[in-house]
């Protein structure tokens, strides 16, 4: 891995973050009639029924200096962001957007990372075996099922699972991240409770994702198996298992990781909606609530976090690629 390569990837990371956040700043200002302004006028008119409205309006005015020229606003916006200041929630004034997010992020991260890893590993294994000429018949039979599941958007599958396992048969809780009224602690019971609440949301992501992975991986496996080096490996008298893992699967890992990276945005979007369905206390659910309450500062804050999170994940993946495939460092050197 060369410095040049890292610098290039880092540049890409910055471009992504800067442009996404700038869009986040610009679009609301392009729209006719600033909806934030509108909402504030509305709240002032209602006169302090929700929290300390006057205080917040003052704060907001001061912060964005709405009378100042746009470019000055833009600069102070960035200044605040860099200090980690995302402003106050419009609806619950003294609460900071950053505290809404830090409260929600661990839930989303935990759910998403676990679910994606399970999906990836299961999908890859299934696809690799399916691409192998002597795939077990039983496994082949399962494929259509997973393909149909794959055709269901994550959160719709979530609705179905919710209905089946929390409404019809009450095996799992109907929503939330932990049982209402209990305090979160590091006890076995508490952990079990959290896992129970995470089960259906995670299952939605896994079930809907595995089929797609398996199908993609099968395609990659078939095309790798057509390569000359597989033929030679067989002619060399290697054992099937060795050919499968070291000549087959290893060569599909690069395209597989690439498509994992490319699908992450998709997965994140899906997960946001899954959280909404299960009222899972992550950022997806917060986003839904904020959209409902037209809490624009929270919406924007969450979007900034989503963008940065995804971009950083992809950056890390870019750094991992060359370890998987030696040809990359070579080509880009």
């Amino acid at each position: 891995m060369t410095v040049d390569y890292i610098v290039k990837r880092l540049g890409m990371l910055l471009v992504v973050i800067i442009s996404a956040i700038s869009i986040n700043f610009i679009i609301p200002r392009l729209m006719p009639g600033d909806p934030v302004q509108q909402k504030m006028d509305q709240m002032v008119a209602m006169g302090g029924t929700v929290g300390d409205v006057q205080g917040m309006v003052q704060e907001y005015r001061k912060k964005f200096g709405l009378d100042k020229p746009v470019w000055k606003q833009f600069i102070s916006y960035w200044g605040d962001l860099l200090r980690g200041d995302l402003g106050y929630s419009l609806n619950n004034y003294p609460q900071r957007v950053s505290s809404v997010i830090t409260g929600a992020l661990p839930w989303t991260a935990g759910l998403l990372i676990t679910a994606i890893l399970i999906t990836f590993v299961l999908g890859i294994l299934m696809g690799a075996v399916l691409g192998w000429p002597t795939a077990p018949r039983g496994l082949r039979g399962v494929v259509p099922v997973f393909l149909v599941l794959h055709a269901v958007p994550y959160f719709l599958l979530g609705i179905i699972l919710l209905f089946l396992f929390a409404v019809s048969v009450r095996v799992f809780p109907g929503g939330g991240g932990y049982s209402f009224g209990t305090a979160l602690q590091l006890s076995l019971g508490s952990i079990a409770d959290v896992l129970k609440h995470a089960a259906l949301p995670a299952l939605s992501i896994v079930l809907a994702g595995v089929g797609g992975w398996a199908l993609g991986m099968r395609g990659m496996m078939i095309s790798v198996l057509g390569e000359d080096y597989i033929n030679l490996a067989e002619a060399k008298g290697l054992k099937q298992r060795r050919i499968f893992l070291w000549y087959g699967v290893r060569n599909t890992m690069l395209p597989a990781t690439t498509s994992l990276a490319m699908s992450l945005g998709h997965v994140v979007t899906g997960a946001v909606l899954v959280e909404m369905i299960f009222a899972y206390p992550g950022i997806g659910h917060q986003l839904y609530r904020a959209i409902h309450a037209k809490d624009y500062t929270v919406i924007q804050g969450i979007i900034v976090v989503l963008v940065v999170w995804l971009a950083v994940t992809l950056f890390i993946m870019d750094l991992i690629y060359p370890l998987i495939d030696r040809r990359i460092t070579y080509r880009r050197r």
Partner: protein, 323 residues
């Protein structure tokens, strides 16, 4: 005369494709003597690769071996169990593949790929033993030690070809098959590769089966030559004898159209079109292009027979020793 190591009898390979059945190898019989260099020549698509791959039982779907025997020291490779044929591959009969360019695993170091070959057959060796054997093999094919640490994309085409040769001889097999080892290389490298293959035969005592387009190049290296046409062997015999007096009209045309000086180069000037294996004429497959065709040629298929001692041919002109 040394005994036969390999006898191929009535070998038949077919591919079931969407456009129809392709009989890529149709009743091919020949034998290879110990320490001999045998060449198979023919136009592209005439079934050379199918023939030699069948010897290792390496025909993949949609193709399959439908009939025949491949006797290696009297043991029929086509009747071995899957595990037995796996153990025979490269230990008894090895392959230098057509397209060595893409035959190495891109994500594995050269050392590991050579070691893999040896490990698959005699697991007991220590790492140090294996490593020193790799060094020895690389040296033998004229590559430096550091090549072992390289990945395939870091090597040139000729170097990859040599790595393939190193793997093919790593277990000292009785028969080494080189399927068009030179077609992707330039002339200078071609010759070097041919010389290396010659050493395989001289120094290791292995029999070498070589397939290729270039009859002239081939003629300079092999002891005996087999000419293939449309999935069939049409003539086989000592190289010099064939060049002096080819028996089959196709072989004669091939030799006549070689550039006269050093008799080298690809096929060019044979009149008529190369046959489609999907749609062969009745009788002799070469009949539409044959200048000597007689009535019988479009009815009966000529038999594969020994027209003179050591000279085999499939042509009605030689039926029952006529002419």
């Amino acid at each position: 005369m040394s005994p036969d190591v390999l006898q191929v009898k009535e070998l038949r390979v077919r591919y079931d494709t969407y456009s129809g059945v392709v009989n890529a190898v149709e009743g091919v019989s020949f034998s290879v003597r110990a320490g001999e260099k045998l060449g198979l020549v023919g136009e592209s698509g005439c079934g050379k690769s199918s023939t030699v791959l069948a010897l290792l039982r390496m025909i993949k779907p949609p193709g399959r071996i439908v009939a025949g025997q491949v006797l290696l020291d009297g043991v029929d490779l086509l009747r071995l169990s899957d595990e037995e044929i796996r153990l025979a591959r490269f230990a008894a009969i090895s392959l230098i593949p057509q397209g060595a360019m893409n035959s190495l695993n891109p994500v594995m170091r050269i050392r590991e790929q050579i070691v893999d070959t040896m490990r698959a057959h005699n697991g007991g060796k220590s790492r140090a033993e294996l490593d020193s054997r790799v060094r020895e093999l690389l040296q033998w094919v004229g590559l430096s030690d550091w090549v072992a640490n390289m990945f395939p994309h870091e090597l040139s085409g000729g170097m990859k070809q040599r790595v393939c040769i190193a793997m093919a001889i790593s277990l000292k097999p009785k028969v080494v098959i080189a399927d068009e080892p030179t077609s992707a290389l330039d002339v200078v490298v071609q010759r070097r590769v041919m010389h290396t293959l010659e050493r395989v035969q001289q120094e290791l005592g292995a029999s070498v089966i070589l397939s290729g387009h270039d009859m002239g190049l081939m003629a300079q290296f092999v002891d005996r030559l087999g000419v293939m046409y449309a999935g069939r062997l049409v003539e086989m015999g000592p190289t010099e004898a064939i060049f002096e007096d080819p028996l089959h009209p196709y072989a004669r045309l091939l030799i006549d159209t070689l550039p006269s000086l050093d008799r080298k180069g690809d096929f060019k000037g044979i009149p008529g079109v190369a046959p489609s294996l999907l749609n062969l004429p009745a009788g002799c497959a070469f009949q539409p292009r044959c200048p000597h065709a007689v009535e019988r040629c479009s009815v009966d298929e000529p038999a594969w027979q020994e027209a003179r001692p050591g000279r085999w041919v499939a042509c009605h002109l030689w039926a029952e020793g006529r002419r």
